[in-house]
Amino acid sequence: MPAHAPPSGRRSLLWIPLLAFAAAYCAAVAVFNAPRSPARAALLPAADRAFSPAFGQTWKLFASPIKSSWSGSVTVRGPAGETAEGDLRERLEHPLPARLFSHSKTWQLGKCYVLHALAAESGEPPRDTDLSRRIARSSCRDELLTTPGLQGLQPFYDRLFTALARERFPGRSLTHFRVRVYETRVRPPDAAERPRVRRLAIDSGWRPIVPGVAR
């Protein structure tokens, strides 16, 4: 049979579902990624029904460069009121040689905490606290524009920082912890000689240690 013979019979039966799926998938990807428009609004429910959440997607990779670096500290308080402070930076973010070999997941959680806490401070009403959407649309970074407040998520951040505080001060009896996050703005390229300014961006206040969190 010549190589350019058209598909027929059994071959057509095999190709039809494959091509139909491929065409539907390509169309759904186009709809998921299209800018807001009446056409997208009309087609999105069908694309969502067929391919969300497994194939839902947005790809704003570095679309708005982050202009700050973040560092944090945790202060703990014991039953007698004694306090101690420890740095969280190395715990959340691996230094350069180590980061070439591993990607810190706690850094990812810390980044979500910063975004949610800043949104809560700004008084924005809590909107999207649905974790499922994060599965479909990747990290909380995508929800930067529709940021949820801390309500609903605070208990989970308490568990995270309890574990980090216990790790930072092993063997000590702890009753409360307090997380402070500092923001250092990146200087604009035309003001590189100016000193970097570090400011306290988030202060969790004293929060009780959560019992029973695994390490």
């Binding site: 598909p7 491929a22 990624n33 070999f101 990607h103 499922s132 990747s138 568990r159 390229p189």
Partner: protein, 342 residues
């Protein structure tokens, strides 16, 4: 009107891009292993039943919650499943094959789902690519059983239509399409941002990820470095789908080297190693088998030594107006075109 039938006919005869699929498997497998191992000491906090997101809260908040980690709330069950996932990720990386790909996908997607906030874009892309990868042949090269696998493929291809080849080629087309969509959208979103438009975005990316000191940061503060880097990134991302579809081998290989270089630079300057590994895995799907073979035979060196191919030289020397006949090509096994790759 005969283009589609011819395309389909060829797609059911031969498995295409087998070397790219094998490289994709290895790099994506390494990214999966990195995901398991980099947080190994934190596994109970990140994904365990008494960790950051407890078992009952996971079922209450996350929908769908079909994760295997949600089936049981005991720590021993979690430990067994986590270590099983680690072992399957290692086997997938080394051996490949459809069964191991499916197992790796189910276990890794379960882990992703268990702690959604610990994810970034790369994990989403990996989760989208892996189910397509189940339909592809990823173990025909760079696998302990590659020789046997290729013999089986040859037998299947001798009796067309090969369902395996059809599924493989269709899935690979969708994977390259998805990769192109990622690049195109990332580039278009960047065009909307003023820092990408004024050529300073690369400066901010490097300085927020590193610090203001060190050689990389100092280099990124120089506008002759930052501005071309910023505009080059946008041009690469927007041009990716068009360059990936090019019929010219040199273009596809140049695109691969540019995309891999970009992600190596991101891995050095930001704490996003896993993201870079997944993107590099997807980039490796773009070249065709002939492209990789030409690299092995020193295709770049030959090209530089010989200069442009006769057809390119002829078209460059042709008068600017009026149609011209294609010049005769010198037959070379390293330049055998594969125009019908999906």
């Amino acid at each position: 009107m005969t283009a589609l039938p011819v395309f389909l006919r060829r797609a059911e005869h031969r498995h295409r891009r087998l070397i790219g699929a094998a490289l994709f498997r290895i790099v994506l497998g390494v990214s999966g292993l990195e995901f398991y191992l980099s947080s190994y000491p934190d596994r109970r906090l990140l994904w365990g039943p008494r960790g950051y997101l407890p078992h009952e809260a996971f079922h209450r908040l996350v929908e769908p919650d079909w994760s295997l980690y949600g089936l049981n709330g005991s720590t021993p069950y979690f430990e067994v499943l986590f270590h099983l996932g680690l072992a399957v990720a290692a086997a997938y990386t080394v051996i490949g094959g459809r069964l191991l790909t499916a197992a790796h996908f189910v276990l890794l997607a379960s882990l992703y789902m268990r702690s959604p906030q610990a994810l970034d874009h790369a994990h989403v892309l990996a989760r989208i690519m892996l189910p397509f990868s189940v339909a592809t042949v990823t173990d025909a090269y760079l696998s302990p059983f590659a020789r046997r696998r290729r013999a089986r493929l040859r037998r299947a291809e001798a009796r067309p239509p090969s369902v395996s080849a059809m599924a493989h080629n269709c899935a690979l087309f969708l994977m390259v399409f998805q990769t192109s969509a990622v690049y195109l959208m990332a580039g278009l979103w960047k065009v909307l941002d003023p820092d990408w438009r004024n050529g300073t975005a690369a400066y901010y990316v490097v300085h927020s990820g590193l610090s203001d000191t060190g050689p990389v940061a100092a280099l990124a503060a120089l506008w002759p470095v930052t501005t071309p880097l910023t505009y080059g990134t946008v041009a690469l991302e927007i041009g990716f789908p068009f360059l990936a579809a090019s019929r010219r081998r040199r273009v596809r290989l140049a695109l691969l080297s540019a995309a891999v270089s970009l992600h190596v630079a991101i891995a050095v300057s930001t704490p996003l190693l896993n993201f870079c590994l997944v993107m590099i895995a997807c980039d490796l799907l773009v070249p065709r088998d002939g492209d990789y073979r030409s690299l092995r035979r020193g295709g770049w060196r030959n090209h530089l030594r010989r200069g442009p191919r006769p057809r390119e030289r002829a078209s460059a020397e042709a008068p600017s107006k009026g149609p011209s006949l294609p010049a005769p090509r010198r037959a070379s096994p390293s330049e055998t075109p594969e125009p019908h790759n999906p």
